[in-house]
């Protein structure tokens, strides 16, 4: 079931060191990259069907093409602000195969005609961004980066300081510019992000780390895996009530239950499965009877009323109290709302408070009605998708596990 493309070097000892990395194919895609034109590189990525792996799932090639019409300085910003609960894949790339990321950055910069890339790493990942920085220094020493390289690319590691919302790409740029991390209003047509007014590509770590394989082996080789609409592989991860939580790379389209049972080692203590939050906390929860026929690709999970998100599954066993689980998640949203939009700032705060009443079993029918109305008021009325995500989380729990909430009503 496992297909290692991005995770190939994860288990190799000292894989973060450049000599080990070089022995294991790192930087080997670059020779062929520079023989092609930037346009050809972008085309290969478009043909491969590579989709953004930070949660959105947009076509990477299309996103790269958006920068074509812009002249002047261009930037590549790598989003390593991984903070979605249940997601820990990017951290593994940073600490176990940073040279793969660097290789991907060089190729991507070449394709979009950029000479500088910022890697925005969440502040909590200090140990791991230190490993990344050492790898970057090594790459400078060996002339893969800097002015003596075949193609000039500089990489700057930029540390965040503890704000989930900075994983939203426009908030990330705001933060990079030295502001509070408030998401920006979206333009009325699809266009790239702007860093100090210059066109900027923002991609997730795993997306960029998938680039070298595709460029070395071709778009077709990547499409060999996965489904027609969700081609390739992804670093799916599993945590919660399972025996062997971790990161396992599999092609898109694999059965969710099979993944949890075979790779996640099944439910801890031989208990029964109750539900799965499929792609990071922000994707609606799926009860066991839907999990049975769910597969790990964008289309299937969308059709089943959830989303693939970051591919970080949180598995809940039969003993988990869904009221308490929702309380945990709403506390997270309350804590992480940036406070810019009123429906989100107030909605996340009040829904968190109302959940306390359910946990204490002092809630009334009116509280349930208010919770539902808060969910409606948060959906589609804010600048970014943070509040709609919180709203869909509430809806998911109430849709599939309403009875548990009703039991808490006096």
């Amino acid at each position: 079931m496992i297909k290692k493309i991005v995770s190939k070097n994860f288990d190799i000892k000292d894989s973060f060191k450049i000599d080990v990395a070089l022995k294991n194919e790192r930087y080997s895609s670059l020779a062929s990259v520079f023989e092609k034109t930037p346009l050809e590189i972008t085309e290969i990525i478009t043909l491969s069907g590579l989709r953004g792996k930070g949660g959105g799932g947009a076509s990477a090639g299309c996103k790269w093409s958006l920068l074509d019409e812009y002249s002047g300085t261009k930037y590549l910003v790598v989003n390593a602000d991984e903070s979605e609960p249940g997601t820990f894949k990017d951290r593994r790339i940073l600490s176990h195969d940073p040279h793969l990321l660097i290789e991907g950055i060089i190729a991507t910069c070449y394709a979009i005609k950029s000479h500088i890339s910022y890697i925005y790493v969440r502040g909590e990942y200090e140990e791991f961004s230190d490993i990344l920085q050492i790898a970057i220094d090594e790459a400078y020493d060996r002339d893969y980066l800097g002015k003596n390289a075949k193609y000039l690319v500089d990489i700057v590691v930029h540390r965040g300081a503890g704000a989930y919302i900075c994983g939203e790409k426009s908030a990330l740029i705001e933060s990079l510019e030295g502001n509070r991390g408030y998401p920006r209003l979206k333009p009325n047509k699809i266009s790239p992000e702007m860093f100090f007014g210059d066109a900027t590509l923002v991609n997730n770590v795993e997306t960029i780390a998938s680039v070298p394989y595709i460029l070395k082996n071709g778009a077709k080789a990547y499409r060999k895996y996965g489904t027609p609409d969700s081609p390739g592989t992804m670093l799916f991860s599993v945590s919660g009530n399972v025996n062997t939580p971790g990161i396992y790379e599999v092609p898109f389209g694999v059965s969710m239950l099979e993944y949890i049972n075979k790779l996640g080692g099944g439910i801890k203590g031989g208990k029964k499965l109750k539900a799965v939050i499929p792609g990071g906390a922000s994707t609606p929860v799926l009860p066991a009877d839907i999990v049975k026929y769910s597969s790990l690709d964008y289309e299937n999970l969308r059709d089943n009323g959830s989303a693939l998100g970051t591919g970080g599954m949180i598995v809940l066993d039969e003993d988990v109290c869904m009221v308490k689980a929702l309380k945990n998640l709403l506390r997270f949203y309350h804590h992480e709302s940036c406070g810019q939009c009123t429906p989100c700032r107030e909605g996340t705060s009040w829904s968190d408070k109302i959940l306390d009443k359910f946990v204490d079993k002092t809630a009334t029918q009116k509280d349930l009605d208010i919770l539902r109305s808060i969910s409606i008021s948060m959906n589609g009325k804010t600048i970014c998708v943070f509040a709609p995500a919180a709203s869909s989380v509430i809806d998911g729990f109430l849709k599939h596990f309403e009875s548990e909430f009703l039991e808490c009503i006096q």
Binding site: T73, E82, S83, E84, P85, G86, T87, F88, D90, R91, I116, R122, G123, E124, Y125, E126, E127, D154, V156, H158, R159, G160, A161, G162, A163, Y164, S175, L176, E177, G178, N179, R180, G181, F195, F196, D198, S237, V238, S239, G240, N241, P245, G246, I247, I277, A281, G312, I314, L316, V320, A325, N328, L329, R331, F332, H335, E336, C338
Partner: protein, 145 residues
Amino acid sequence: MSFVFTKKNTLKIQELKKSYPKKKALILPLLWMVQKQDNFISEAAMKKVADITEQSYIHIYGVVTFYTMFRLNKPEKKIIEVCRTLSCELNGSEDIKAYLDYNYSNEYEILEVECMGACSGAPMCTLNGKYMENVTKEELTRVLK
């Protein structure tokens, strides 16, 4: 009280300036530098950062207060952060927090934080910023003695 960057940091700042198109982008890196140097961010330091980045003091203050990792006060004790988000809670983070509160709150400041991206190692905590995964009471007792 005034704030002065160390010589090493002053040199680093000169280098950093070359890495960004505008000085304003230096705000987060400089604030980190301040916090590393002093263990917190003082008013004087914020004024210094404002000078270097050519921004107002209040803008810097606004930035510092947005991000949870920046500290306006010097911590009196060493810090332990316990992740409380779902995967950790499902694996006993509440017990770990209670255990730490009961036994170590005199020597350590024990904080609860949201997802740290170590869900496969739940429950997890950090000790002085360093990740500890799959923590148990026994291990904490051993490490914190």
